[in-house]
Structures are given as C-alpha cells and as structure tokens.
Subunit: 294 residues, 2 copies
Amino acid sequence: MTERKSTIALIQMRCGPEPEKNFTRATEFIREAAAQGAKIVCLPELFRSQYFCQAEDHKNFDLAEEVPGKSTAALGDVARKTGAVIIASVFEKRSAGVYHDSAAIIDADGGLLGKYRKMHVPDDPLYHEKFYFAPGDLGFQAWQTTHGKIGVCVCWDQWYPEAARLTALRGAEIIFYPTAIGWHPSEKKEFGLAQHSAWETIQRSHAIANGCYVAAANRVGHEAPAGGDGIEFWGQSFICGPDGKIIAKGSVDREEIVTADVEWDRVNEHRTHWPFLRDRRVDAYAGLEKRMID
Amino acid sequence: MTERKSTIALIQMRCGPEPEKNFTRATEFIREAAAQGAKIVCLPELFRSQYFCQAEDHKNFDLAEEVPGKSTAALGDVARKTGAVIIASVFEKRSAGVYHDSAAIIDADGGLLGKYRKMHVPDDPLYHEKFYFAPGDLGFQAWQTTHGKIGVCVCWDQWYPEAARLTALRGAEIIFYPTAIGWHPSEKKEFGLAQHSAWETIQRSHAIANGCYVAAANRVGHEAPAGGDGIEFWGQSFICGPDGKIIAKGSVDREEIVTADVEWDRVNEHRTHWPFLRDRRVDAYAGLEKRMID
C-alpha cells in the first residue's frame, strides 16, 4: 500500500513581516523539496507570519484564517501538482473569539485529510500563546496518507511524552512537529546550549520510547516584531530514526530543506528488537490524568 | 526539613559469582561513599549476584530472599551507622512461586522506608526476566527520606515515560534507576553506540519532562554465568539535572563511585522556568491505558 521507502522534507525557513511573501516562498520550498523527491513535506509552525505571540496585540487576530480556507486550498493545489503530502501550520479562526494553533494535513491528491489543533499551549515571556490560542480539542491523531501513516503535534507538545505516546498508539510511524522555538538573546549565553539540547533530547526520546521516526521543522532567523530583543529562532530542524539517532539536521542560522529517507519497514523491525510497546503496564497508569498525585 | 544540597552517590560495581562477597563489597562501597559525604547511595540492580537472567535455570530462584530480610537488615545497620539513605535492589521472594525484582528504600535511621517492585519486566535474548520476576504490583511511588523526596524505578522501567511521570507526580525530586544493562558482544560493533545513546537519552528526557534529577546506577564488567558470549555491562552510571544535562558520569569499564550534588531548590526554580507540568492536558490523556488505540 505504502512505499517501502519515502523521502521526507522539513522546510527550515525565515519568516518576514509580509504574510503573502512568506506563503509564496513556502510553496516554492515545497516545490523544490518535491523536485528533490520528497513525498511528505512539513512546514514550520505559523510560517505565514512572523512569530506574533511575542506580544499580546489584538490586531494579530487578523492574521487568522479558516481551515479549510485560503491557505489549505492553495496548498492543496501544490500537493496535487507535486504529489507530496503537506503538513501546514495555520493560525486557525474557528469562530468569533475562538482561535487555534492548528496544522492541516493535506494529502497528495490535494484533499484536506485532517486537522490537528495544538493541545499543549505555552505561556512564557515572548511566547504568549495562551492569549491567542484556545487549547486544542481534537485530541492526538494519526492519518493514513498516500505515502504512509503519520501523526502531527505542534511545538510545545514536543515536551510531553503523553502526546507522542498517544499519537504512536494511534499508528503514526512518523511524528512531525511544526515548531517555532528559539533563544531569548539575553539568555542564550548562559542557558542556550542546555535549552537546545533538552529540546532535541526529548524529541529523540519520543522516537526511542515509541519506536517511530520523529521530524521537527523549526523556523530560523531573528524576529522582533514587537520591538525589544526579540527571539533568535534556532533552526536545527531534524529527523531521527526509531533508535533516536539523528539522520538529518539543519543548520542553526540558514534556510534549507532538511531531507531524509524513511524506511517504513524499519518501524516494525525496530519494535521487535526494542519491544517497549509490548511491556507497557497498561493496568498501572492511573494517575496520568491528574495534575499531581498529592 | 531537608537539606538545601545533598551529595548523592551511585555505586558502579562488578558482580562476581559469590553473593556474599558482592554484598560485602557493596557495603564497603557505601561506607566509602558516605565517608565522601554522600547522603543517598544507590546500588546497581541485583548487585548481590551475577546477572543470572541470562539463562532460565530454576536453581537461580535460590538466590532470592525476603524483603524485609537478611540483606535489608544488614544494610539497615550500614545506613544507621553512616547516616546515608540506601537504595538496594533485591531479588525478592514473596511466596512460593512469586518472585519480584525489587528495590528496598532504607532510610538514614536504618528503617525500611519502602519497597518498589519492578513494574516493567523485559524478556529479550540473555535478559529472561519474565521467567523469574512477576510484574510489580505496588505501583509508582515516592518516599520522603531524611535527605529528600525520592522515587525509584528499576532498569527496563527506564524506557517508559509513564513510569517517570507517575513517580514525579507523586513528588519525587530525584528518580533513581538501579540498572543492569550491557551489550551482547556480537552486537556491540553494529548497534552498541545507538543502544547506549538511546538508554542515556531517554533517561535524560525523563529529567527534562518532569523537571527533576535522574540518577542511574549500572553494573560494569563482562559476565557469562551461563556460558556463551555473555553480556558486557556498559557502566556509565550517570546523574543529570532537571534540564537533562549530565553532571556526573562513570566510565564504561571501571568500578567507581559516581557522585554529584543535588540542589533541592533547583527543582522548584527549574519548573517555574520550564513550566511543563503546568500545561499537561490531563483532560486529554485517555488512551494511555490501552495497548494500542486501534
């Protein structure tokens, strides 16, 4: 049904102040990736704009759009013409006053196969996402695309083993993470290395725990749309195998298409050698649904 | 109540064919660690014997003992005299035909504070643990010791984010992992690096996900008690901070006491800066109690 091997691609891109330019450039990157053989292409989180969550500004809600909507229709055309599955992060307007940080999963025929709404929403200095995004209510999912069964989580979700586990239990053999993460310039010297290492480590651990591929697409470049020091997005988009080993990785400061070949049979082979899913104590996980057990 | 800072120690030791000699050496290591200032000392998994699970042999059940029993009584004396909390892995005989891979938590006053029974039990070539050990039935716990609140899981548990999460949700600020893991000599060249990296990575990820310390005590040396190629235990016991950064690490082939200072306040400080526990979607984790969601 699916190929034995598929090239996947992460679009590591800069995002400027003009949404339509970002969108056009994203489609150009997708076409280029597809021309290189990519069958599944993932864009970074909220690629259509600069990372507006650095400030709480009601005007930014004007950036939102419906899903399905204008962006998914245009990307559907690109998918159909290139034959690539596209994972596109969209600032979704669901209704008046209800917005989500969503991802559209567009199949190779151009149809909207599914939608994920970011489940874990952060609120940190310069990452004021709880102001903009309601928590997702579609749960953790997996989709059978033309080229393989995949799951999608978004950015802050990557810190949560529960998100990766539930996505894998639904059958995802690759978990994609559209991401927008970087350094506060004032913190970078003291904490930058540990922050990036933790980010990479925990996503590699999701591959290990679940015996699947993990692919994280991050943006790159410095952005300060609200003034101040802004954020230096750390790039380093990567793809790792079911053993957690990184098989492709982008630079820290350049736009690029990060590609790797996914061998779908490796998920099954790997899980028979590292049989973690076999031994889960599904009878003993009560309490995971609590904030603390106190 | 607890100290602001405590030295903890992992005993990375070889285990020979004579249980009483191993036990005596373990107590010597604990005394030495305590003399160096260690307040919590963790022994490796099943340190009293060679790793007998390499073969299925009914005679090995004779190695088991009760908890509380002879070993915990003798270690209680060591704890009381040194003032150190001791985490001791014991092959527990619970009743005729019911055995566990357990860990005794002995407080600084010598009393048996608690018991953990390994929840996730593996069965792999040369790791025939399902033959020997019934799955644990005491769940994931944390204990307030004289020197701080800790949790204990055992070896194969380390591959399960659920185990670390539940232990942390119960308040553990350090999760200890008595461990016996190594390479099949015939696989080491091809897979050894990835296997060790995955083991270290996933435990670091538990520290990151939960904002706590993680400390894994592994044995070292080559053992082939059942003949054949045996297992080369890979040592490299380590302690990492709440950001996942390794702060102490043992060698791959030598006995040693691996120590680090734990700053208890750092758990709280770290979790306010990396507020992952705040944002868990406790309303949306249904399915974690299933083997697969299919």
